[in-house]
């Protein structure tokens, strides 16, 4: 336990402590607590999980069981911008694979990884529900339709320029 806390020294536990105050003695608190903790930290760091486990009187193993089940929870730090390349049927037909390769090549990361500068996280998703404008890439809350690899290159450059 000790070396883990030193490894993650930068984690500020007080944020999660505050969240947990509202959920004292509440049954079924795990998911809302995890959601709020993720909103506060951007992801779910190990010391935070341990702290949640202790306060909710559960084992960390159980909590991780929940956290790894839902796609909404992330155990690794995420970038400032989330790049979601749609791999649904329509996008696939319109060569979404080329978009994924572009991201990989441009950001030098694989799926579910984050760039070293913590600017981008790359994810592939099943369907964004915008098949009419396939292929689709969604960056944060913004949807980019009918993207070509070159267009995607420019879009990413724009995000890079504007930085954090």
């Amino acid at each position: 336990m000790n070396d883990q806390s030193t490894k993650n020294e930068t984690i500020d536990i007080s944020k999660v402590e505050k969240i947990l105050e509202d959920y004292k003695n509440t049954r079924g608190a795990v998911i809302p607590v995890l959601q709020k903790a993720q909103a506060a930290y951007g992801f779910l760091p190990e010391p935070v999980i341990d702290h949640i486990a202790q306060s909710l009187n559960m084992s960390a193993d159980e909590i991780i069981g929940v956290a790894t089940f839902y796609a909404q929870f992330h155990l690794k730090p995420r970038g400032h911008h989330i790049v979601k390349v749609c791999c649904g049927t329509a996008c696939h037909v319109k060569n979404a694979k080329a978009l994924s390769s572009k991201v990989r090549e441009k950001l030098k990361i694989n799926v579910n990884e984050t760039t070293e500068d913590k600017l981008f996280t790359f994810e592939e998703v099943s369907c964004l529900g915008a098949c009419g404008i396939a292929p689709v890439v969604m960056i944060d809350e913004e949807v980019h339709g009918e993207v070509s690899p070159d267009k995607l290159n420019d879009v990413l450059d724009n995000y890079k320029k504007s930085g954090v």
Binding site: I49, M58, A60, D61, I64, G65, T68, F69
Partner: protein, 880 residues
Amino acid sequence: MKTIHLVIEDKPIIAPEGINIFQASLDNGIYIPGLCYHPKLSQFGGCRLCMVEVTERRTGHRFACAHPVSEGMIVKVNTPKVIRYRKSVMEYLLVHHELSCPICDKAGECSLQDITHELNQSPSRFKAVRMDYPMVRDNPVLELNRNRCILCGRCVSTCKEIEGIAAIDFQNRGIKTVIGTAFDRPLECSFCGGCVAVCPTGAWQDRTLGFKGRSWEFSKVPTICPYCSVGCTIILNTKMESVRRVTSDDYLGINEGNLCIKGRFGHEFIHSPERIKTPLIRKNGELYPTSWDEAIEYVAKRFQQIKNEHGGTAIGGIGSEKCTNEDNYLFQKFCRSVLGTDNIDNMANIKSPALNGLIYESVIHGMTSASLKEIEHANTLFFIGADMTEAHPVAGSMARKAIRLNNANLIIANVRGVQFNSIARNDIRLKYALGSQIILINALIKVIIDEKLVDLEKVETSTNNFDKLRSLIDKFDREEASKITGVTQDAIRNAALLLTKPGNCYIICGKDIEENPLAEDAIRALMNLCALLNPAYRGDAGSGKVSLFFSRSHNNSQGVNDVGVVPGFLPGYVNINDASNKEKIEKSWGVKFPDTILKKDAENVIDLALNSKLKALYIMGENLVVNYPNGKKIKEACKKIDFIVVQDTFLTETAQLADVVLPAATFAEKEGTFTNMGMTVQRINKAVKPVGDAKPDWQIICSLAQKMGHSCSYVSPKEILTEIETISPMYAGINYDRLKRKEFHWASSVSNKNKSTRYTFSMVKPRSSEIRKNKDFPFVLLTGASLNHQGTFSRHSKSLMSVAPECFVEINKKDAQVLQINNGDRVAIESDQNKLTLKAKVTSKLPERVVFVSEDYEWVPVNILRDRVHTSVKIYKETV
């Protein structure tokens, strides 16, 4: 309970309402294949194998484990359609499951293998995709091979529901799902091995077995665990006269197949190379191997000589909490009738001398009438001074079952914040100040009386002395009590409210209460509380049960006292000075007790030795030097004894002082009976031949008696038990052969006989036990049980030693900060008696100014520090 009539496989069946088809079939001997359902676990419904055809209003297919029985239901287990379905499920399961049966320890007892075989499973239509997870081998006793896992979830449920730990869970989702720990950290659990026991495949394995035999080669001998006083049934798996592993049986004994780390993995001591294999005799200051003839002759000669010169009373005897009832009975008979001494005792009685009398009284009054297994049916559980998780883990599992299935309420009162994980809705923890237990109990009584939580008029008419108790309690102030105990008035009140709720209320009185100097008062106060809680006075008149359990340390700590290895009391707690009983026993044994036996000195065996009144000491199965709670005193006492005979399985610290050491057989190598802390007598069975020349204790005693000219010709423990039955009315109705099938609970037969006894309340003044404050030694040393170790056996079990190699001193966070002690630092604990260096463990469980050291790490002789129960110590960081 409402019953349901249904038909399964053309067999008419009556089943209780609410159970599922799977359980109903199981109860009626109808087989439905299934991998995830387990009767002792909650329903999961994951393996999809137990599909059956069900006709209720119309015919359809249902999962047997997830569908409740209903009136008039017709169930078919083996229709062609069901079998086709089942085969395809197996086909899917086997796509991923590596078929490593030839190198899997589970082969032969693997449900997956059996079902594959039984379905005549043909080669799969699919391409087999084998997983390639690395073996998880991060601890000494359990290993997990995820490639063999079918994700049935049994281990996850066991860990959560039975052990209350949840050290493992499903991780990830879909095809990537595995069983594992958070962040793949090493397994941190109690190592009960429950996961191995319930695993239907070879995913979880017992590393103590590790390819030491195939499952079909083992002969399986059910017997009773030799560690704590719960008395779990364990199955010794033997091959070629050696115990290869321990398994459990869900349908045998009181433990439903649950065991703790000691029970399941602590068997290696049986074949430890350090066992004593021949008698040893001291010549020129050294112990040398010798023959049985020489050893017995020498011991007999010396005993006779001392008896002739100084009288029989100059010989003392220490019986064993680990030996069988028959061994102990014969031991006291030998001491009393052959040696002519009543200076015998056992460690349990030495540590808490008032306990035997109180337990017997409690049994007579019907307050200790339940057997341990009944804890499962509790509605309210009250653990006072008991650390269930460490001391009686499987009884803790029974409690968790009550909490899970009956919604039982839980109250835990302890000086330390003991760990007990539960999902109880009402879970009250009363962390009382050291020494204030009597005040706490009286405060509970006061709330009950003040708020009329029970029918006080009925109490008054059916008991004696209630008015006196009332006036005593009236003077007692709740606020004051709250101040002294450090427990809020609200918490005390809530606890009292839970205790008086309808249903079964079981109270477990722990070692902290029993070994306290004020034990007698505290237990009497608890008995008062029990008397008040009698269901007859509560709302639910008559239904429900109240029972008080007394913690005992070892497997037969209860039995050794029951069969009379206690000064002044013959078997069955018969006072030796009671003329009629004495005569009966004299007649039966064919001896006449010398008058010297009856003139009882107030001193116990060790005091006699200290006062040089003891010339010889005969110790059977007890490491006296380490376990006696005053290290200095016992050392001096042993020095003053001329002749010490130790009969044991290992060369313990005590045996090293002996003049003659006689090698004894372990529990696995002999027959007999053990009595657990719930007064249940259970039979142990011989699984292997004794190692070397070791002999069962009763045989050794027999040959000694014969050598000393007494007839002692028992051929088996059966004869001894029959004799015990004729002598002690307590055991009336016990039958050695019947014990093989059914345990015997002596408390219920004794309390049934005394049903009409009226309870008289004892006046227990609410007072705290005095904790001597000392400026030089500002801390108080508490000792207690350990989950991982107990006695001589665990220290010679390799696996237990590697799980828990070191004994820690626990210290409160604040104190640690002041003393600048960190986790793992080497610290010295010093009392005015002695000094010990241990590693520190900083915890928030303890109150300030209290340190805790377990006394079950036998090689860490914490008793050398102690001269009383609450020894004052100082603690400081050891500088290198």
